[in-house]
Amino acid sequence: MRSPKESWFAISRQLSPGRAAVLTAWSFLLPLSIWCVVSYVPFIWHPDVKLEVGSTGATVYTAGDHVGKDYFPTLLAGARDENAGIAEAAAAGEPIKGSSRDNVKLLRMVLPIAISNGVLTPADDTNDAAIYGVWRRLATGDLVMSSPALSEENLSVIRDNWAIMSAISETYDKSALEKQKLLSLIPQGKPANPVYLPAPHEVLIQGYKSWTEEPAEGRSSMGERLRSSIIVVFGGFLLAALVSLPLGIVAGSYDFFSKLTEPFLDFFRYMPAPSFATLLVAIFGAHQSPKLALVFIGTLPHLCLMITKTTRMLDPSLLEAAQTLGSKRFHLLRKVVVPGIVPAVYNDLRIALGWAWTWLVIAELIGVKSGLTEVIDTQGTRRNFDQVFPVIFLIGIIGFATDQFLAWLRPKLFRWTEPKAPGLMGRWFGGVQNWFEPVLVAYRKG
């Protein structure tokens, strides 16, 4: 342990493990807290208004829609003007005749707010009798909404409308609704960030829901999606590794194979893997196989070239020493080249696994969309970004955790490399070491 007086900024010096852990935690906390501040401090950004009550009339918005902060006053003014016209006509004794269709639409405007207050359920969307009842209870003060609350302005609109409606019928009667045009509710809403930046809690809630709620009929659950994505990533990656390892090792060891393979691979890697998408679908069908193949061809050339380079970097004096000890050809490959490069190749494979995750997103979009990416694609198109972020984070977390796990495992597998102080994640994995200690012991013996 270093003395606590050591500077935090000593050039090219390692910080103590404790300090390193603190900074590792901060590297996650900083972006997270920026996200929280932008989301929860209303005056920081919030360029939109998220509607709690929508608008009918010339431009239709439903509750939950975002409108620009600048445009919101125009929307309000439009609704107020319209109501003023209706009220004026009524005061002059010549009320404007309504259409039952428009009036029913207007009545249904309270539905979203009633749902979020727990008064009605989404299944009540055409249950106009129940909605009529809500209007009555609101007008008489029987029912007070709180989350969110209705503005005073809207409550007075409700009372005025109810005065007209109750004069005709206390209970819902569609034909009676056409007597007189009702006042429209005034749009109301809260400052909000654009839809593409949901707040942390919304992402958490949606993430939790997506895992706990039963999927719709014929759709896959998140667990099934995750499994299918993992099969594509690891399947494609393992295939690529299986081909690259022998190819890279012989190409790195023998110039003959290097000259025979490297130029083509160098060319091949400049053809973007996704450009083969349609071809792969034509060859392998539309389901998992072309996706695996895309991850495979996206990973293969780079991995191959990287392993070749790693093999070439093996200390040549080790090969010379082995030769003066009588080692030749295959023995030399198996007993010197392979063990000599294994720790470096292990790192190459870790990097390649990262690429495989990158290709996943493109792979799952080809043919029949599937896996985690399908959620990103469909929900993103519907602008439900609070459902998109949990999936993006999930991919990130799995990739990161796998990589950290492999990093932590490395010194255990290759004991002859100089040990390095474990990082925060490494120490955490140290805690879960117990349950696979037997495997490690077996490996070391074998």
């Binding site: 010379e320 020493a321 082995a322 030769q323 003066t324 000890l325 080692s327 023995h331 063990p339 490399t417």
Partner: protein, 300 residues
């Protein structure tokens, strides 16, 4: 070095030394180098002659050193003998047969330790035995004996990164000897060691050599080391590497560190220095004395 002492000629050998050298020369020639020349291509298309027309015969169980300044082609020479480099002209014969490529009949100890870092000490020593077809159990018991010989029995299961430089070099020697090669090549094996460890390692090497039937070709740029260890010393000139002289060391056996101060030792050393730096004093005067001003404080 000015001759304050009255040194004998380095050519003067005591009767026992002369008899020993005569016995050595009567033994069969183990390693023979004939008209060896090596030229390298330079990047600009020219050639450098690293070695020029080297002829040498090393007899069985002789300790032969190759001495020369840095860059005079010592490594190139030993690498050609090992088969890791091909000669441009000439040939190398081992036991009368021309060598082709590296092989287990010429063990080699490199300046860098070149131990396999993923193998324990024992496995490193077993490597050559297994490569040459020994059974694992046979290789293991052989290896343990060699490890014992270099005094590392306690470290048989340690990994190279846990050993000091001197220990690593001992493992390298055990590994090279385990195949029982007729010839062991050593390229500045102690170059990276501190003087004290180096002295210990030299004594070790002599002890081992007394107990093992092996001919040693030992590369060094250290005069004392070469004289202390060798029967004969091949002195190379730089640019191109050519044989200046093959010096017979007039020291008796067994060698001991006291001999460093004996008149024979000093005479040999003086002779080799003359060979390597023929105009030493003349060139000393030409040292560029760049502008220096006396410090002029009260110390002087």
């Amino acid at each position: 070095m000015s001759t304050v002492l009255e040194l004998p000629s380095y050519l003067k050998q005591s009767p026992e030394v002369a008899a020993r050298l005569a016995r050595l020369k009567a033994r069969p020639v183990e390693l023979e180098v004939k008209g060896l020349t090596k030229r390298f291509m330079t990047p600009d298309g020219g050639t450098v002659t690293a070695l020029k027309e080297i002829n040498l015969s090393v007899h069985r169980r002789e300790f032969m050193s190759v001495l020369g300044a840095s860059g005079c082609g010592k490594s190139t020479f030993v690498r050609i003998v090992a088969g890791l480099e091909t000669p441009t002209e000439g040939e190398v014969l081992l036991g009368g047969k021309a060598i082709r490529g590296p092989g287990p009949d010429r063990g080699m100890v490199f300046q860098g330790y070149t131990l396999f870092p993923w193998l324990s000490v024992k496995q490193n020593v077993m490597f050559g035995l297994e490569a040459c077809g020994s059974s694992p159990t046979g290789a293991e018991s052989d290896a343990l004996q060699w490890i014992d010989l270099v005094g590392l029995a306690k470290f048989a299961d340690a990994y190279p990164h846990q050993l000091s430089g001197g220990m690593k070099q001992r493992v390298a020697i055990a590994r090279a000897l385990a195949n029982q090669p007729p010839v062991m090549l050593m390229d500045e094996p102690y170059g990276a060691l501190d003087p004290q460890t180096r002295g210990q390692m030299q004594s070790y090497l002599l002890q081992i050599w007394e107990n093992v039937d092996v001919t040693i070709l030992f590369i060094t740029h250290d005069l004392d080391e070469a004289i202390y260890l060798s029967d004969r010393i091949l002195v190379l000139s730089p640019n191109p590497g050519q044989v200046l002289e093959i010096v017979e060391v007039p020291l008796s056996h067994p060698r001991s560190p006291e001999q460093f101060l004996s008149p024979e030792f000093l005479a040999t050393k003086q002779r080799i220095e003359e060979l390597i730096h023929p105009n030493k004093h003349a060139s000393d005067d030409k040292l560029p004395m760049i502008r220096l001003t006396k410090v002029g404080d009260d110390v002087n």
